[in-house]
Symmetry: D3
Subunit: 243 residues, 6 copies
């Protein structure tokens, strides 16, 4: 079964991670995965949500949104309907949990880092690109805190990256574009650490249930993809990574 | 590691599924899993959402909400904050996808069935109880359509049930109560069919990443739990199941 | 004129008041009046609304809501329309005023008790059932405060209960069910104390005005009904009532 | 017990009803009762709410609002809090029911008349002034329909007017101003027809319950007040009343 | 080209400024410009917005709204759509900026004055009437502060008034009524000080662009109109102006 | 008085207009003016707002928003406050009017073009950049309609571009950056056609009023700036401009 762009079933799309894309955020990244393009800006705030006040612990949260014309047909803005899009609500909770899984909340101290993921152009895999790019933006914001002498070192225990995998035309495939995703029988968003452990796993068989064996093949693909993405993250961060 | 209620690590809590709990809904179920108590009411509507109009296909959707004092401390109602709770948004999307996975949308025809899951009392596992109880409410609403001569038979291709599993004190455990859930290192919500295939899988390692091996053990527990729940569903439906 | 359920015109429906229905609330009651079923949960909070801060006075307020399928046709949730239902707004103000009328605000001290009235199943008289059941939930929450040594005794000066009466088919009738209520010429919600005084009186002649004589007959029926309800309240509370 | 403005206990404040106060509405009235000043504008719309479509019946509804500085301290606008004030919700439902009680819905036909009651200055009794003035605005809007040849005659079966009465310093008093109302033990809003029958009765004893005898004295005062208001309504409408 | 009301092209409509129109506000004005009628109430609050806390500076802000039937067809209230009308948002920002331009924020001290402009009847030029009348209400509220000994003198550096001018039928005209405004090729809202300097200038050529020469003629008319309005403001304030 | 970036007082910042920036929109432009960066996407819809249905006329409207971290400190999203930012409301109305001023609504026919202006990075002049870039996006969307054979030619009667000018340190300056704008005594947003006529003019003297002479100097600068911008627009469109 040939893919739209002639990739192999286990081949990622072209990845580009541009750091410092905007000038105001403490950490700013534009990530492109194929035609999907997400702007990830990390903001450091000195206050934490009220449930953490006085705890000495920090927090990372995420917001996710698509620009109205990031997609093929225009979607109205949330504010025009006065409701946060249900899909956005689900996705931003996933991004937040994923990023927090590698956070050393005590080392961060009573600060909150908000990672805004705004999709400029969508072609499948926007939540995974948000996690992968959001991690780099978060790292850069932490780096800013270190550079300002506010933290001794980066309060992250490892890397985290995400990729979508799915069964399309009966075959497991890595990194689905929109056209593939919309016709997949089942798909997983696999969030893994740099050491190959799981952080989040969201698998859906809305079209049909999937078997244990299919799951195993999907997870193997996911492991391959996230390993590749972790290499790209380190490349984007550059020499600072090893400091 | 002893559990709060002295259950074995692979033991479900007491399950009770009361059908016909309220008199107005086409399908009504009160499900109790331990102290968790969810009222699931299925409503049949003759119209479908606009994206399906004229398609000949039906739809199933879900709404999930907790009563303000379903939990240990009172939560304000969504309407008082003018925002759908983010957790509720995530959960009701999961319930809807899970129920649709066994739906024969063509056989249902251009009708929508809304499954309202209202948590009267929460003690962990409310989303799983909603899926398990919601399936029975959906089945009963379909039965009402059959009884009224509007459908030839139940437009469901199988059963679907859900259970939470998690790693708590280093050990995989089945069917977490709130106290266990809030201290778990990682947990999965496992949604499976009556034949043991996966419908949805949501695993989270917010406290720490989890390994492939841990995942395998969690999924095995999930399979055991959902099999038990499917038996309870059939028992609740009773003789009508075999018609 | 025969009533749907063959009751006499001055006969109440079957009343059941179950205390301790849920486990988290300081006071919890499930009240059933015929087919009407309302869950009343009372929550104690240590803060009062800002207009009472520093006054030494307490407050009781109520929230009222119907589950979407409490009625014959499904009503959308308030949050989906982003507006508190006008009828709910009117009713919860009535419940709050009624309960406050017997409250010793100074004895309660700077605490707020919120009484959530959620209608699980509606068949007429839901606001009256909410007041009658809400009173018991409030009493139980006060009892919890006494048991915890936070109050010397129950800060309530008496009982309060409510019943609907109406003119239906030209005849005054007690405790209207939905079918009767929807066809009544005029109806009153009568809120009275255990000693037979008025707390609130809301009479409406939307279909036609009503006379002074009709009002007198309705109020006499209301007195009879609330007396019966007060007995049921004391029975539900049990021996603790006399302590 | 002397009243703030030295009125007798059964004496109304000065009443002024100015018709044609604004130029756009089909019926426009500025009503002043003492210092309370309400602008009542009635708008005729050719459509009815969906639940009446095709029924051949008309509808009257009301909206009530206070300007931010109608009161002694400024209240934020509803839109700034994104919530309809609960008190306004309760009041506008009362106004709507009161006006509909004398409406011949079949004669009006499938039209809706919206009566906007905007309080320019508040000094107690704003809901009653809204009903009394709203009736005249509604009458004038109907008159406009008659004048345009769209209706054969005014589709109103009688008059409706409202006054507040209350127990203040132990004594029943007619037409409470704000200072009296805020310190009343109990108060009633009495809505009556021109023939002295009841349309709505809302009595509240938030400070203390009230007796049957007190109620009787309050209703007698209410009857006196509404009779006076009905005379003022007819005077404001003028000769057209008898056509 | 004759105007609807036979005015000359450089002639203002009749202006009336009634001070003390309502009794609660610190400054209250009803301004009429032709058939346009706006109630301007200024409220003094002891707190400033958070961005000014501790700065020693005061603030003036405005809110603008039209009653539903201020116009020829009824507009729904903002709260019924849950959105502040976009036009209102634009206008109230203009009013606020205009009034602040003559405010001595240091002399006012950490107080906020809110100027509510509610349009009772609209016939073009409501935003200009709001600025002109709002200035007088603001002046009166400041006067109240002086009278109470809270300020040494009026903290306003000058007058501000506004008028609309437009090109209608090819000719520049002063003070457009609604009928003229809705058919104008271009129009300006000119906000000027009592000494003839500009405070705000908002010119729009939605129908067609306008030239530098047309702009010059419009501004000259605006200067004439605002000079007249400033005289009316001083007349309304009366002798107090010179103190 | 030296400018932050050593520009002359009549010198524009570097301008870059990238066409085809995203792949889904009918017209897509990324405009950069100095550090200000706005993504302008034009969407063609086949329906018009209801007030134009059946008129044969088209419509152009705009939406404007800033990403949360487009600015130096993070702004919460509109949806988290449930309110469209007042400044955004004002700006998007300006953009819409400006673009409509050169639109041939009859030639466009019953179609709506929505121009979304999303500020990725802000450094002053975002509304002007939105108009200038939005015009190119609108032109490209029209071009798409021509290319698809749906329109005979571009339904725009000319060009429109905008620049901010202001008095800063006593001197009129062209194209203010944020640092200059926030300290300007007065500033104008000048919207002009390619032929040097005015489309919109919004001048504000919040800090102090400004004179007729100052206005004249500001407008001359604005004319110079918009002429330059119009050249850049034509350059970005390229050869297609002359077809």
């Amino acid at each position: 079964m040939a893919r739209a762009d002639l990739r192999r079933s286990d081949e990622m799309r072209r990845i580009q991670i541009i750091t410092g894309y905007t000038m105001h955020a403490e950490g700013s990244v534009l990530i492109e995965v194929g035609n999907t393009r997400v702007l990830c800006n990390a903001t450091v705030e000195d206050a934490v949500p009220s449930f953490l006040a006085g705890s000495g612990l920090g927090w990372v949260t995420a917001e996710y949104s698509m620009l109205p014309r990031a997609t093929n047909t225009r979607s109205p803005r949330d504010i025009s309907r006065l409701k946060l899009n249900g899909r956005s609500a689900e996705i931003q909770r996933l991004i937040g949990r994923s990023l927090r899984s590698v956070l050393d909340r005590r080392m961060l101290g009573e600060r909150q880092i908000i990672v805004d993921c705004d999709v400029l152009q969508a072609d499948g895999g926007t939540r995974c690109a948000s996690i992968t790019g959001g991690y780099v933006a978060l790292w850069l914001a932490c780096r800013t805190l270190v550079d300002r002498g506010l933290l001794p070192r980066i309060p992250l225990r490892g890397q985290v990256a995400a990729v979508s995998v799915g069964i399309f035309g009966g075959e497991p495939m890595l990194d689905l574009c929109y056209q593939e995703d919309s016709r997949a029988d089942a798909d997983c968003n696999v969030v893994m650490t740099g050491t190959g452990d799981f952080v989040e796993l969201q698998c859906t068989g809305e079209e049909r249930p999937f078997t244990k064996e299919e799951l195993a093949r999907l997870l193997a693909l996911g492991r391959k993809g996230t390993a590749k993405l972790c290499r790209e993250q380190r490349k984007a961060i550059g020499d600072a990574w090893n400091l």
